[in-house]
Amino acid sequence: MAAKNEPDTPGLGDVLEKVKEAGPQHVKWLQNPFETQLWRSIFRHKLDETPRNRSLAVLSNVFLHLHPAKINRDAVRYTFTWGMGGITFYLFLILTFTGVALMFYYHPDKANAFRDILAIKNDVPFGNLLRNLHRWAAHSMIITVWMHQMRVFMTGSYKPPREFNWNIGVILLLITMLLSFTGYLLPDDQLGFWAVTVGTNMARATPLIGHEGPFGPQIGATPFNDIRFAMLGGSIVDANALLRAYIWHCVGLPLIGGTFMIVHFWRIRKDGSISGPAPVMLASEVPTAKGRR
Protein backbone atom coordinates (compact mmCIF):
# COMPACT_ATOMS: atom_id res chain seq x y z
CA MET A 1 0.00 0.00 0.00
CA ALA A 2 1.65 3.27 -1.10
CA ALA A 3 1.73 6.14 1.38
CA LYS A 4 -0.42 8.94 0.10
CA ASN A 5 1.60 11.79 1.63
CA GLU A 6 4.94 10.86 0.04
CA PRO A 7 6.09 13.49 -2.52
CA ASP A 8 6.58 12.42 -6.09
CA THR A 9 9.99 11.11 -7.03
CA PRO A 10 11.70 13.85 -9.12
CA GLY A 11 11.41 12.86 -12.71
CA LEU A 12 13.38 13.65 -15.86
CA GLY A 13 11.59 17.01 -16.15
CA ASP A 14 12.94 18.12 -12.76
CA VAL A 15 16.48 17.15 -13.77
CA LEU A 16 16.22 19.21 -16.95
CA GLU A 17 14.90 22.13 -14.89
CA LYS A 18 18.01 21.91 -12.67
CA VAL A 19 20.34 21.89 -15.65
CA LYS A 20 18.64 25.01 -17.02
CA GLU A 21 19.06 26.78 -13.67
CA ALA A 22 22.72 25.76 -13.40
CA GLY A 23 23.95 27.96 -16.22
CA PRO A 24 22.96 31.37 -14.82
CA GLN A 25 23.87 30.16 -11.32
CA HIS A 26 27.45 29.36 -12.32
CA VAL A 27 27.77 32.65 -14.08
CA LYS A 28 26.67 34.35 -10.87
CA TRP A 29 29.21 32.41 -8.78
CA LEU A 30 32.03 33.17 -11.17
CA GLN A 31 31.10 36.82 -11.29
CA ASN A 32 31.15 37.09 -7.53
CA PRO A 33 32.93 34.15 -5.90
CA PHE A 34 33.04 36.00 -2.57
CA GLU A 35 29.29 35.45 -2.15
CA THR A 36 29.48 31.67 -2.45
CA GLN A 37 28.97 29.38 0.50
CA LEU A 38 32.39 27.84 -0.14
CA TRP A 39 34.21 31.16 0.15
CA ARG A 40 32.20 32.31 3.13
CA SER A 41 32.90 29.08 4.96
CA ILE A 42 36.64 29.84 4.75
CA PHE A 43 36.73 33.61 5.23
CA ARG A 44 34.30 34.92 7.81
CA HIS A 45 34.55 38.59 6.96
CA LYS A 46 33.80 40.77 3.96
CA LEU A 47 36.51 42.32 1.85
CA ASP A 48 35.61 45.98 1.56
CA GLU A 49 38.16 48.22 3.25
CA THR A 50 36.43 49.10 6.46
CA PRO A 51 38.24 49.30 9.81
CA ARG A 52 36.12 46.37 10.98
CA ASN A 53 37.18 44.15 8.10
CA ARG A 54 40.82 45.14 8.43
CA SER A 55 40.73 44.11 12.07
CA LEU A 56 38.86 40.88 11.31
CA ALA A 57 41.42 39.99 8.63
CA VAL A 58 43.97 39.68 11.44
CA LEU A 59 41.79 38.53 14.32
CA SER A 60 39.88 35.80 12.48
CA ASN A 61 43.06 34.21 11.09
CA VAL A 62 44.85 31.74 13.31
CA PHE A 63 48.27 32.58 11.85
CA LEU A 64 47.88 36.33 11.69
CA HIS A 65 46.33 36.68 15.12
CA LEU A 66 49.82 36.52 16.60
CA HIS A 67 49.53 40.20 15.75
CA PRO A 68 47.22 42.67 17.40
CA ALA A 69 44.63 44.29 15.13
CA LYS A 70 46.23 47.70 15.44
CA ILE A 71 49.67 48.90 16.47
CA ASN A 72 51.45 52.14 17.22
CA ARG A 73 51.94 54.03 13.98
CA ASP A 74 55.69 54.41 14.59
CA ALA A 75 56.22 50.74 15.46
CA VAL A 76 56.06 49.75 11.79
CA ARG A 77 59.10 51.90 11.08
CA TYR A 78 62.10 49.87 9.95
CA THR A 79 64.41 52.22 11.85
CA PHE A 80 63.06 50.90 15.13
CA THR A 81 62.82 47.10 14.81
CA TRP A 82 65.15 46.31 11.87
CA GLY A 83 62.74 43.39 11.32
CA MET A 84 65.31 40.96 12.70
CA GLY A 85 63.04 38.97 15.00
CA GLY A 86 60.47 38.41 12.28
CA ILE A 87 63.14 37.46 9.74
CA THR A 88 64.57 35.00 12.26
CA PHE A 89 61.19 33.29 12.54
CA TYR A 90 60.78 33.30 8.77
CA LEU A 91 64.20 31.67 8.40
CA PHE A 92 63.13 29.06 10.94
CA LEU A 93 60.14 28.27 8.72
CA ILE A 94 62.37 28.01 5.63
CA LEU A 95 64.69 25.71 7.58
CA THR A 96 61.77 23.52 8.64
CA PHE A 97 60.54 23.14 5.06
CA THR A 98 63.95 22.53 3.47
CA GLY A 99 64.94 20.36 6.44
CA VAL A 100 61.93 18.08 6.11
CA ALA A 101 62.58 17.77 2.37
CA LEU A 102 66.22 16.85 3.05
CA MET A 103 65.16 14.22 5.59
CA PHE A 104 63.49 12.25 2.79
CA TYR A 105 66.92 11.64 1.25
CA TYR A 106 69.08 11.10 4.31
CA HIS A 107 69.87 8.09 6.50
CA PRO A 108 71.54 8.92 9.81
CA ASP A 109 74.04 6.06 9.82
CA LYS A 110 77.75 5.87 9.08
CA ALA A 111 77.29 3.67 5.99
CA ASN A 112 74.87 6.02 4.25
CA ALA A 113 75.13 9.55 5.61
CA PHE A 114 77.97 10.83 3.45
CA ARG A 115 76.76 9.01 0.35
CA ASP A 116 73.30 10.48 0.85
CA ILE A 117 74.78 13.96 0.85
CA LEU A 118 76.59 13.16 -2.40
CA ALA A 119 73.29 11.91 -3.82
CA ILE A 120 71.50 15.07 -2.69
CA LYS A 121 74.25 17.16 -4.27
CA ASN A 122 74.44 15.30 -7.56
CA ASP A 123 71.35 13.16 -8.19
CA VAL A 124 68.30 14.53 -6.40
CA PRO A 125 66.45 17.11 -8.53
CA PHE A 126 67.20 20.53 -7.02
CA GLY A 127 68.90 18.66 -4.18
CA ASN A 128 71.98 20.85 -4.24
CA LEU A 129 69.87 23.99 -4.15
CA LEU A 130 67.85 22.54 -1.28
CA ARG A 131 70.97 21.75 0.73
CA ASN A 132 72.52 25.15 0.01
CA LEU A 133 69.30 26.92 1.03
CA HIS A 134 69.25 24.97 4.29
CA ARG A 135 72.90 25.74 5.02
CA TRP A 136 72.74 29.47 4.29
CA ALA A 137 69.37 29.93 5.97
CA ALA A 138 70.89 28.36 9.10
CA HIS A 139 73.89 30.71 9.07
CA SER A 140 71.62 33.67 8.32
CA MET A 141 69.45 32.74 11.28
CA ILE A 142 72.45 33.00 13.62
CA ILE A 143 73.22 36.45 12.19
CA THR A 144 69.64 37.68 12.53
CA VAL A 145 69.30 36.30 16.07
CA TRP A 146 72.43 38.20 17.15
CA MET A 147 71.20 41.34 15.38
CA HIS A 148 67.81 40.99 17.03
CA GLN A 149 69.43 40.72 20.43
CA MET A 150 71.56 43.79 19.71
CA ARG A 151 68.46 45.77 18.70
CA VAL A 152 66.52 44.66 21.76
CA PHE A 153 69.41 45.69 23.98
CA MET A 154 69.91 49.05 22.24
CA THR A 155 66.24 49.95 22.65
CA GLY A 156 66.21 48.82 26.29
CA SER A 157 63.38 46.47 25.46
CA TYR A 158 64.42 43.98 28.13
CA LYS A 159 63.30 46.40 30.84
CA PRO A 160 60.09 45.82 32.81
CA PRO A 161 57.67 44.33 31.93
CA ARG A 162 59.74 42.36 29.39
CA GLU A 163 62.48 40.91 31.63
CA PHE A 164 61.16 37.36 31.39
CA ASN A 165 60.83 37.49 27.62
CA TRP A 166 64.47 38.57 27.36
CA ASN A 167 65.32 35.37 29.24
CA ILE A 168 63.26 33.29 26.82
CA GLY A 169 65.14 35.07 24.05
CA VAL A 170 68.52 34.11 25.52
CA ILE A 171 67.39 30.48 25.61
CA LEU A 172 66.23 30.72 21.99
CA LEU A 173 69.61 32.18 21.03
CA LEU A 174 71.28 29.18 22.65
CA ILE A 175 68.92 26.73 20.92
CA THR A 176 69.56 28.38 17.54
CA MET A 177 73.30 27.87 17.96
CA LEU A 178 72.83 24.29 19.17
CA LEU A 179 70.60 23.54 16.17
CA SER A 180 73.28 24.83 13.86
CA PHE A 181 75.97 22.88 15.69
CA THR A 182 74.11 19.54 15.66
CA GLY A 183 73.41 20.02 11.96
CA TYR A 184 77.12 20.48 11.30
CA LEU A 185 77.86 16.80 12.01
CA LEU A 186 75.16 15.33 9.77
CA PRO A 187 77.01 15.33 6.40
CA ASP A 188 79.58 13.12 8.20
CA ASP A 189 82.46 14.83 6.41
CA GLN A 190 85.82 15.98 7.75
CA LEU A 191 84.55 19.51 8.42
CA GLY A 192 81.66 18.46 10.64
CA PHE A 193 83.50 15.58 12.23
CA TRP A 194 86.41 17.69 13.47
CA ALA A 195 84.27 20.66 14.44
CA VAL A 196 82.13 18.39 16.58
CA THR A 197 85.18 16.57 17.91
CA VAL A 198 86.72 19.87 19.01
CA GLY A 199 83.39 21.08 20.37
CA THR A 200 82.54 18.00 22.39
CA ASN A 201 86.13 17.57 23.61
CA MET A 202 85.53 20.66 25.72
CA ALA A 203 82.86 18.70 27.57
CA ARG A 204 85.60 16.40 28.88
CA ALA A 205 86.75 19.32 30.95
CA THR A 206 83.43 19.98 32.66
CA PRO A 207 84.04 20.28 36.39
CA LEU A 208 82.94 17.17 38.32
CA ILE A 209 81.08 15.48 35.42
CA GLY A 210 83.88 15.46 32.83
CA HIS A 211 86.72 12.96 33.00
CA GLU A 212 89.37 15.64 32.48
CA GLY A 213 87.64 18.38 34.41
CA PRO A 214 88.48 19.70 37.85
CA PHE A 215 87.74 16.96 40.42
CA GLY A 216 86.13 14.79 37.71
CA PRO A 217 88.51 11.82 38.01
CA GLN A 218 88.49 12.17 41.78
CA ILE A 219 84.78 11.42 41.95
CA GLY A 220 84.97 8.65 39.35
CA ALA A 221 84.38 10.29 35.98
CA THR A 222 85.87 8.23 33.13
CA PRO A 223 85.59 8.58 29.33
CA PHE A 224 82.80 6.01 29.55
CA ASN A 225 80.46 7.62 32.04
CA ASP A 226 80.96 11.37 31.82
CA ILE A 227 78.95 14.18 30.23
CA ARG A 228 80.77 13.82 26.91
CA PHE A 229 79.78 10.14 26.79
CA ALA A 230 76.17 11.19 27.28
CA MET A 231 76.40 13.72 24.45
CA LEU A 232 78.08 11.36 21.97
CA GLY A 233 76.54 8.05 23.01
CA GLY A 234 80.12 6.76 23.16
CA SER A 235 83.65 7.80 23.90
CA ILE A 236 84.36 8.93 20.32
CA VAL A 237 82.39 10.72 17.59
CA ASP A 238 80.90 7.73 15.79
CA ALA A 239 77.62 6.15 14.69
CA ASN A 240 75.81 6.87 17.96
CA ALA A 241 76.94 10.50 17.92
CA LEU A 242 75.63 10.83 14.37
CA LEU A 243 72.26 9.39 15.38
CA ARG A 244 72.07 11.61 18.46
CA ALA A 245 72.98 14.71 16.49
CA TYR A 246 70.30 13.77 13.95
CA ILE A 247 67.58 13.27 16.55
CA TRP A 248 68.46 16.44 18.46
CA HIS A 249 68.68 18.36 15.20
CA CYS A 250 65.46 17.13 13.58
CA VAL A 251 63.22 16.38 16.55
CA GLY A 252 64.45 17.38 20.00
CA LEU A 253 65.73 20.90 19.53
CA PRO A 254 63.00 22.02 17.07
CA LEU A 255 60.35 20.85 19.55
CA ILE A 256 62.00 22.61 22.49
CA GLY A 257 62.75 25.67 20.38
CA GLY A 258 59.21 25.75 18.99
CA THR A 259 57.81 25.63 22.50
CA PHE A 260 59.97 28.54 23.62
CA MET A 261 59.04 30.43 20.44
CA ILE A 262 55.35 30.08 21.32
CA VAL A 263 56.06 31.50 24.77
CA HIS A 264 58.26 34.24 23.27
CA PHE A 265 55.56 35.43 20.85
CA TRP A 266 52.77 35.09 23.37
CA ARG A 267 54.71 37.11 25.91
CA ILE A 268 55.35 39.88 23.37
CA ARG A 269 51.57 40.35 23.19
CA LYS A 270 50.99 39.90 26.91
CA ASP A 271 53.79 42.29 27.86
CA GLY A 272 52.20 45.11 25.89
CA SER A 273 53.19 44.33 22.30
CA ILE A 274 56.26 45.87 20.73
CA SER A 275 58.22 48.08 23.12
CA GLY A 276 58.32 51.25 21.08
CA PRO A 277 59.26 53.68 19.81
CA ALA A 278 58.15 54.72 23.29
CA PRO A 279 57.87 58.33 24.38
CA VAL A 280 61.19 59.43 25.83
CA MET A 281 61.42 59.76 29.60
CA LEU A 282 63.48 62.44 31.32
CA ALA A 283 65.87 61.76 34.17
CA SER A 284 63.99 64.34 36.25
CA GLU A 285 60.82 62.26 35.96
CA VAL A 286 62.22 59.07 37.47
CA PRO A 287 60.19 58.28 40.57
CA THR A 288 62.40 58.34 43.64
CA ALA A 289 60.01 56.77 46.15
CA LYS A 290 61.16 53.42 47.52
CA GLY A 291 59.23 50.29 46.68
CA ARG A 292 58.67 51.42 43.14
CA ARG A 293 58.49 48.48 40.77
Partner: protein, 309 residues
Protein backbone atom coordinates in the same frame (compact mmCIF):
# COMPACT_ATOMS: atom_id res chain seq x y z
CA UNK B 1 101.38 40.19 0.98
CA UNK B 2 99.60 36.99 0.02
CA UNK B 3 96.41 38.25 -1.60
CA UNK B 4 95.35 34.77 -2.63
CA UNK B 5 95.45 33.57 0.96
CA UNK B 6 93.32 36.53 2.06
CA UNK B 7 90.90 35.95 -0.81
CA UNK B 8 90.65 32.23 -0.02
CA UNK B 9 89.76 32.85 3.61
CA UNK B 10 87.27 35.61 2.82
CA UNK B 11 85.43 33.71 0.11
CA UNK B 12 85.43 30.26 1.73
CA UNK B 13 81.71 29.47 1.59
CA UNK B 14 81.45 28.91 5.33
CA UNK B 15 83.14 32.26 6.00
CA UNK B 16 80.75 34.25 3.83
CA UNK B 17 78.27 34.63 6.73
CA UNK B 18 80.86 36.18 9.05
CA UNK B 19 81.94 38.54 6.26
CA UNK B 20 78.29 39.55 5.90
CA UNK B 21 78.07 39.96 9.68
CA UNK B 22 81.18 42.15 9.53
CA UNK B 23 79.36 44.45 7.12
CA UNK B 24 75.92 44.36 8.80
CA UNK B 25 77.16 45.00 12.35
CA UNK B 26 78.75 48.43 11.69
CA UNK B 27 75.79 49.39 9.51
CA UNK B 28 73.18 48.58 12.14
CA UNK B 29 75.33 50.12 14.89
CA UNK B 30 75.32 53.35 12.92
CA UNK B 31 71.63 52.90 12.17
CA UNK B 32 70.76 52.46 15.85
CA UNK B 33 73.04 55.19 17.13
CA UNK B 34 71.61 57.60 14.57
CA UNK B 35 68.21 57.07 16.22
CA UNK B 36 69.86 57.46 19.64
CA UNK B 37 71.34 60.80 18.63
CA UNK B 38 67.93 62.02 17.45
CA UNK B 39 66.30 60.99 20.73
CA UNK B 40 69.14 62.49 22.77
CA UNK B 41 68.69 65.79 20.99
CA UNK B 42 64.99 65.69 21.88
CA UNK B 43 65.77 64.78 25.50
CA UNK B 44 68.20 67.70 25.81
CA UNK B 45 65.60 70.02 24.35
CA UNK B 46 62.86 68.81 26.70
CA UNK B 47 65.10 68.94 29.76
CA UNK B 48 65.89 72.57 29.01
CA UNK B 49 62.23 73.46 28.54
CA UNK B 50 59.89 71.93 31.16
CA UNK B 51 56.86 73.67 29.67
CA UNK B 52 57.48 72.03 26.33
CA UNK B 53 58.08 68.68 28.05
CA UNK B 54 54.53 68.76 29.43
CA UNK B 55 52.91 69.07 26.03
CA UNK B 56 55.39 67.37 23.71
CA UNK B 57 54.56 64.05 22.08
CA UNK B 58 58.03 62.81 23.09
CA UNK B 59 59.09 61.08 19.92
CA UNK B 60 61.50 62.31 17.27
CA UNK B 61 59.39 60.70 14.53
CA UNK B 62 57.13 62.99 12.48
CA UNK B 63 53.99 63.87 14.39
CA UNK B 64 50.69 65.58 13.82
CA UNK B 65 47.94 65.79 16.44
CA UNK B 66 45.31 64.92 13.84
CA UNK B 67 47.00 61.67 12.84
CA UNK B 68 45.78 58.39 14.28
CA UNK B 69 48.03 57.09 17.02
CA UNK B 70 47.67 53.53 15.74
CA UNK B 71 47.46 51.89 12.33
CA UNK B 72 45.89 48.65 11.22
CA UNK B 73 48.23 45.66 11.13
CA UNK B 74 46.51 44.68 7.92
CA UNK B 75 47.79 46.12 5.63
CA UNK B 76 50.39 48.41 7.19
CA UNK B 77 52.48 45.80 9.01
CA UNK B 78 51.66 42.67 7.06
CA UNK B 79 52.73 44.23 3.76
CA UNK B 80 56.15 44.96 5.28
CA UNK B 81 56.43 41.41 6.58
CA UNK B 82 55.45 40.05 3.18
CA UNK B 83 58.02 42.24 1.48
CA UNK B 84 60.68 41.17 3.97
CA UNK B 85 59.87 37.51 3.32
CA UNK B 86 60.20 38.08 -0.43
CA UNK B 87 63.54 39.86 -0.10
CA UNK B 88 64.95 37.23 2.28
CA UNK B 89 63.79 34.42 -0.01
CA UNK B 90 65.27 36.06 -3.09
CA UNK B 91 68.57 36.81 -1.35
CA UNK B 92 68.82 33.25 -0.03
CA UNK B 93 68.16 31.76 -3.47
CA UNK B 94 70.83 33.93 -5.05
CA UNK B 95 73.26 33.00 -2.26
CA UNK B 96 72.40 29.29 -2.62
CA UNK B 97 72.86 29.38 -6.40
CA UNK B 98 76.28 31.04 -6.27
CA UNK B 99 77.79 29.42 -3.17
CA UNK B 100 77.73 25.67 -2.59
CA UNK B 101 77.53 24.44 0.98
CA UNK B 102 80.98 23.05 1.77
CA UNK B 103 81.50 19.31 1.75
CA UNK B 104 84.89 17.88 2.65
CA UNK B 105 86.08 14.32 2.34
CA UNK B 106 84.29 11.61 4.34
CA UNK B 107 84.99 11.85 8.05
CA UNK B 108 88.24 10.20 9.00
CA UNK B 109 89.25 9.97 12.66
CA UNK B 110 92.84 9.16 11.67
CA UNK B 111 93.34 12.31 9.59
CA UNK B 112 93.17 15.46 11.68
CA UNK B 113 92.11 18.64 9.91
CA UNK B 114 94.59 21.44 10.38
CA UNK B 115 93.32 23.86 11.51
CA UNK B 116 90.35 22.01 13.03
CA UNK B 117 87.95 24.90 13.31
CA UNK B 118 84.48 25.09 14.78
CA UNK B 119 81.85 26.92 12.70
CA UNK B 120 82.42 30.70 12.74
CA UNK B 121 79.81 31.44 15.40
CA UNK B 122 81.73 29.33 17.93
CA UNK B 123 85.17 30.64 17.02
CA UNK B 124 84.99 33.22 19.81
CA UNK B 125 84.86 30.32 22.26
CA UNK B 126 87.58 28.41 20.43
CA UNK B 127 89.80 31.48 20.55
CA UNK B 128 89.24 31.72 24.31
CA UNK B 129 90.78 28.24 24.55
CA UNK B 130 94.13 29.90 23.83
CA UNK B 131 93.88 31.86 27.05
CA UNK B 132 92.03 29.50 29.36
CA UNK B 133 91.84 25.76 29.86
CA UNK B 134 88.75 24.07 28.39
CA UNK B 135 86.99 23.86 31.74
CA UNK B 136 86.94 27.66 31.85
CA UNK B 137 86.81 28.60 28.15
CA UNK B 138 84.48 25.83 27.05
CA UNK B 139 82.32 25.28 30.10
CA UNK B 140 82.42 28.05 32.70
CA UNK B 141 82.59 31.09 30.38
CA UNK B 142 79.65 30.03 28.14
CA UNK B 143 77.60 29.47 31.26
CA UNK B 144 78.64 32.83 32.72
CA UNK B 145 77.75 34.49 29.39
CA UNK B 146 74.28 32.92 29.32
CA UNK B 147 73.54 33.57 32.99
CA UNK B 148 74.99 37.07 32.72
CA UNK B 149 72.78 37.88 29.72
CA UNK B 150 69.75 36.57 31.57
CA UNK B 151 70.60 38.61 34.65
CA UNK B 152 70.83 41.91 32.74
CA UNK B 153 67.16 42.92 33.12
CA UNK B 154 67.30 42.24 36.84
CA UNK B 155 70.48 44.27 37.39
CA UNK B 156 69.61 47.24 35.17
CA UNK B 157 67.35 49.25 37.47
CA UNK B 158 67.14 52.39 35.37
CA UNK B 159 63.65 53.00 33.97
CA UNK B 160 65.17 55.33 31.37
CA UNK B 161 65.59 54.20 27.78
CA UNK B 162 62.80 51.65 27.90
CA UNK B 163 61.62 51.24 24.33
CA UNK B 164 63.66 53.89 22.56
CA UNK B 165 67.23 54.33 21.37
CA UNK B 166 69.34 56.56 23.56
CA UNK B 167 73.02 56.94 24.34
CA UNK B 168 72.82 59.79 26.83
CA UNK B 169 70.64 57.93 29.31
CA UNK B 170 72.30 54.51 29.06
CA UNK B 171 76.01 55.13 28.52
CA UNK B 172 77.08 52.53 31.07
CA UNK B 173 74.65 49.77 30.03
CA UNK B 174 75.36 50.26 26.32
CA UNK B 175 79.13 50.39 26.65
CA UNK B 176 79.10 47.31 28.87
CA UNK B 177 77.03 45.31 26.40
CA UNK B 178 78.92 46.56 23.37
CA UNK B 179 82.27 45.75 24.96
CA UNK B 180 81.10 42.23 25.74
CA UNK B 181 79.42 41.60 22.40
CA UNK B 182 81.63 43.47 19.94
CA UNK B 183 85.05 43.04 21.57
CA UNK B 184 84.92 39.87 23.64
CA UNK B 185 82.63 37.91 21.32
CA UNK B 186 82.64 39.21 17.74
CA UNK B 187 86.25 40.39 17.60
CA UNK B 188 87.43 37.05 18.96
CA UNK B 189 85.30 35.24 16.36
CA UNK B 190 86.94 37.36 13.66
CA UNK B 191 90.39 36.55 15.05
CA UNK B 192 89.46 32.87 15.06
CA UNK B 193 88.25 33.04 11.46
CA UNK B 194 90.77 35.29 9.74
CA UNK B 195 93.88 35.32 11.91
CA UNK B 196 94.23 31.79 13.22
CA UNK B 197 95.77 29.38 10.74
CA UNK B 198 97.24 25.88 10.95
CA UNK B 199 98.23 24.86 14.45
CA UNK B 200 96.04 27.75 15.63
CA UNK B 201 99.08 29.98 14.96
CA UNK B 202 98.70 33.72 14.57
CA UNK B 203 98.86 34.84 10.92
CA UNK B 204 98.29 38.50 10.09
CA UNK B 205 95.83 39.11 7.25
CA UNK B 206 97.67 38.50 4.00
CA UNK B 207 100.30 36.27 5.57
CA UNK B 208 100.60 32.82 4.01
CA UNK B 209 99.22 30.03 6.17
CA UNK B 210 102.39 27.99 6.55
CA UNK B 211 101.62 24.79 8.45
CA UNK B 212 105.35 24.17 8.96
CA UNK B 213 106.15 27.56 10.42
CA UNK B 214 108.05 27.21 13.66
CA UNK B 215 107.02 29.55 16.41
CA UNK B 216 109.51 29.98 19.19
CA UNK B 217 106.94 30.33 21.91
CA UNK B 218 108.06 30.35 25.50
CA UNK B 219 105.19 29.72 27.83
CA UNK B 220 105.89 30.14 31.49
CA UNK B 221 103.69 29.85 34.50
CA UNK B 222 103.50 32.73 36.91
CA UNK B 223 104.99 30.72 39.77
CA UNK B 224 108.05 29.93 37.65
CA UNK B 225 108.76 33.63 37.29
CA UNK B 226 108.58 33.95 41.05
CA UNK B 227 110.73 30.83 41.36
CA UNK B 228 108.53 28.47 43.35
CA UNK B 229 109.09 24.72 43.04
CA UNK B 230 107.17 23.12 45.89
CA UNK B 231 103.70 21.99 44.62
CA UNK B 232 101.98 23.03 47.83
CA UNK B 233 103.53 26.49 47.72
CA UNK B 234 102.68 26.75 43.99
CA UNK B 235 99.04 25.89 44.69
CA UNK B 236 98.72 28.36 47.55
CA UNK B 237 100.56 31.08 45.61
CA UNK B 238 98.31 30.66 42.56
CA UNK B 239 95.20 30.65 44.70
CA UNK B 240 96.24 33.83 46.45
CA UNK B 241 97.04 35.54 43.14
CA UNK B 242 93.83 34.42 41.40
CA UNK B 243 91.47 35.10 44.28
CA UNK B 244 93.46 38.23 45.05
CA UNK B 245 92.90 39.44 41.49
CA UNK B 246 89.17 38.79 41.84
CA UNK B 247 89.09 40.69 45.14
CA UNK B 248 91.14 43.63 43.87
CA UNK B 249 89.23 43.81 40.57
CA UNK B 250 85.98 43.66 42.54
CA UNK B 251 87.19 46.42 44.85
CA UNK B 252 88.30 48.61 41.96
CA UNK B 253 85.01 48.04 40.11
CA UNK B 254 83.09 48.89 43.27
CA UNK B 255 85.10 52.07 43.88
CA UNK B 256 84.73 53.23 40.28
CA UNK B 257 81.01 52.48 40.25
CA UNK B 258 80.38 54.38 43.47
CA UNK B 259 82.51 57.28 42.32
CA UNK B 260 81.17 57.67 38.79
CA UNK B 261 77.73 56.06 39.01
CA UNK B 262 76.50 56.91 42.53
CA UNK B 263 72.86 56.90 41.45
CA UNK B 264 73.33 53.37 40.14
CA UNK B 265 74.70 52.25 43.51
CA UNK B 266 71.88 53.88 45.45
CA UNK B 267 69.16 52.32 43.39
CA UNK B 268 70.41 48.74 43.51
CA UNK B 269 69.96 46.34 46.37
CA UNK B 270 72.90 44.33 47.67
CA UNK B 271 72.15 41.19 45.64
CA UNK B 272 71.87 43.16 42.40
CA UNK B 273 75.01 45.15 43.13
CA UNK B 274 77.16 42.15 44.05
CA UNK B 275 76.05 40.32 40.90
CA UNK B 276 76.83 43.33 38.73
CA UNK B 277 80.32 43.62 40.21
CA UNK B 278 80.78 39.84 39.89
CA UNK B 279 79.85 39.75 36.21
CA UNK B 280 82.03 42.79 35.45
CA UNK B 281 84.98 41.08 37.15
CA UNK B 282 84.38 37.89 35.13
CA UNK B 283 84.23 40.00 31.99
CA UNK B 284 87.48 41.75 32.84
CA UNK B 285 89.24 38.44 33.54
CA UNK B 286 89.30 37.55 29.83
CA UNK B 287 91.17 40.64 28.54
CA UNK B 288 93.51 40.46 31.56
CA UNK B 289 94.39 36.85 30.81
CA UNK B 290 94.73 37.68 27.09
CA UNK B 291 97.24 40.36 27.99
CA UNK B 292 99.18 37.99 30.25
CA UNK B 293 99.32 35.35 27.52
CA UNK B 294 99.95 37.51 24.45
CA UNK B 295 102.24 40.12 25.94
CA UNK B 296 104.03 38.26 28.73
CA UNK B 297 103.72 34.64 27.56
CA UNK B 298 102.22 33.51 30.84
CA UNK B 299 100.15 30.36 30.42
CA UNK B 300 98.92 29.54 33.89
CA UNK B 301 98.52 31.73 36.92
CA UNK B 302 97.35 28.99 39.22
CA UNK B 303 98.62 25.43 38.90
CA UNK B 304 97.16 22.63 41.02
CA UNK B 305 97.08 18.85 40.53
CA UNK B 306 93.35 19.07 39.74
CA UNK B 307 92.93 22.17 37.62
CA UNK B 308 94.86 25.09 36.16
CA UNK B 309 93.79 28.69 35.74
Amino acid sequence: MDWKQLWDITTAPDNVPIVILGILTPFYLWYGFREAVRNDRLITQLEADPALAKTHHRRHQPYHPAWDKTVHVWPYLLRIEFLAALIVTAALIVWAVYFDAPLEEPSNPTLTMNPAKAPWYFLGLQEMLVYFDPWIAGVMLPNVIVVGLMAIPYMDTSPLGNGYYTWKQRKFALSGFMFGYLVLWLALAFVGTFIRGPGWMWFWPGETWDAHRVVHEVNVHLHEIVGLTDPVQIGIFGGVVTLGFMAVAGGVTDTLLRKYKPELFRKMNLVQYLHLVGFLVCMSALPVKMFLKLALGIKYVWVTPWFNV
